[in-house]
Symmetry: C2
Subunit: 219 residues, 2 copies
């Protein structure tokens, strides 16, 4: 079952690539405004295969990428988001509530592609290696795969938005996924209407950048 | 507090970059064998700043990168790993136990740089946005930052190994970090002795690649 990749010399990542890679991190955005242009199926399939190059604890590869396609399932996801978002709005008051209400927090209606990404917590792959004291690393492997998907998508001109304002158990019920699959992230994917270097939540004055968290601490 | 980056035109990520990016995902490895060469302080600082470009829920930027430097603290981390690894070995029997015992599961003694990466769960940044129904996304933001660090490090020729065979509460006690900081990952960083395209756990026949997990499912 191992990949039959021929043995290659290790690539050199030169200065030009390194600068471009930082550009990619800098311009990867959480996208919520999509054009109606369809996304080729093959592109999403390629990106999932790239995401599967992510690190996973014990080489467990626990990611499960599910494309949500039927209109009734998409409608259930939108209803799920709307209910959770209304409940979240209730937690804020005054100006903060007004600002929250103005934020666009998902592109579920517009995005041509919906992906629900799960962690298969029942997987036997990896034989439990590295999961005894910090079992949550299995979930973290899926986060790394989502991040890899996101970066590779952005490099191909595709936008990704991660929706966490969602009831994960209700979502799993809507999608009829196996009981041991834990939802890690729900992604909207499509071509972005606009491109930005700064996060929308900075631009909208919800949360500024915190320089102090860019720094290494020492012990 | 916002970054004073000048407004730039969005970069174009061409085919050459995209191919190299896939090479980077393919050649990012969990490294456990390091050369004794020191790693410039400035390089680690730069990589932490790049990691801080990762996505975070509500723009909460909850990552806290701690360089573990004093000999007594490093010794405590090694003792922590050794105890947890011995306990983990007890879970396996027969050939599996023999193989587990032969695996090199950390480079804690050799790595010139140790980084403990935490999530500050008490952060007020982001004002709770996106954390009501899936509060674990705060931790996931830190995972994305670690993955960004890892990729950027590899592109500069540095190896990173993620150690999860560790007692996180004992580690936090050793480092005297604030009580609300949850350990997400412990990283060994240094220049690698060797470079590989395939994971060590595949090479050592612990866990093969699973082609079926590279594929998109549909609902």
């Amino acid at each position: 079952m191992s990949r039959d990749a021929p043995i290659q010399p290790a690539p050199v990542f030169d200065e030009t690539f390194n600068l471009r890679l930082v550009d990619l991190f800098r311009w990867r955005r959480d996208v919520r405004r999509f054009t109606p242009d369809p996304v080729p199926d093959r592109l999403i399939e390629d990106l999932v295969a790239i995401a599967a190059l992510a690190p996973s604890v014990g080489n467990s590869q626990p990611w499960r990428f599910v494309s949500v396609e039927t209109p009734d399932r998409r409608q259930a996801v939108i209803a799920n988001f709307n209910a959770c978002n209304a409940a979240a709005l209730n937690d804020y008051e005054g100006e903060r509530a007004a600002l929250y209400a103005r934020l666009k927090l998902s592109g579920l209606r517009e995005a041509p592609v919906h992906l629900a990404v799960f962690c298969d917590r029942a997987t036997q792959a990896g034989s439990g290696l590295g999961r005894k004291t910090m079992p949550e690393v299995l979930d973290y492997s899926v986060v790394a795969a989502i991040h890899a998907f996101w970066l590779a998508a952005r490099a191909r001109g595709l936008g990704v938005g991660w929706v966490s304002i969602i009831d994960p158990l209700e979502l799993a019920a809507s999608l009829e996924t196996p009981p041991d699959w834990k939802l890690i992230g729900y992604l909207c994917v499509g071509f972005p209407q606009e491109e930005h270097q700064d996060p929308e939540l900075e631009r909208q004055h919800w949360q500024a950048h915190l320089d102090e968290n860019d720094r290494l601490l020492r012990r």
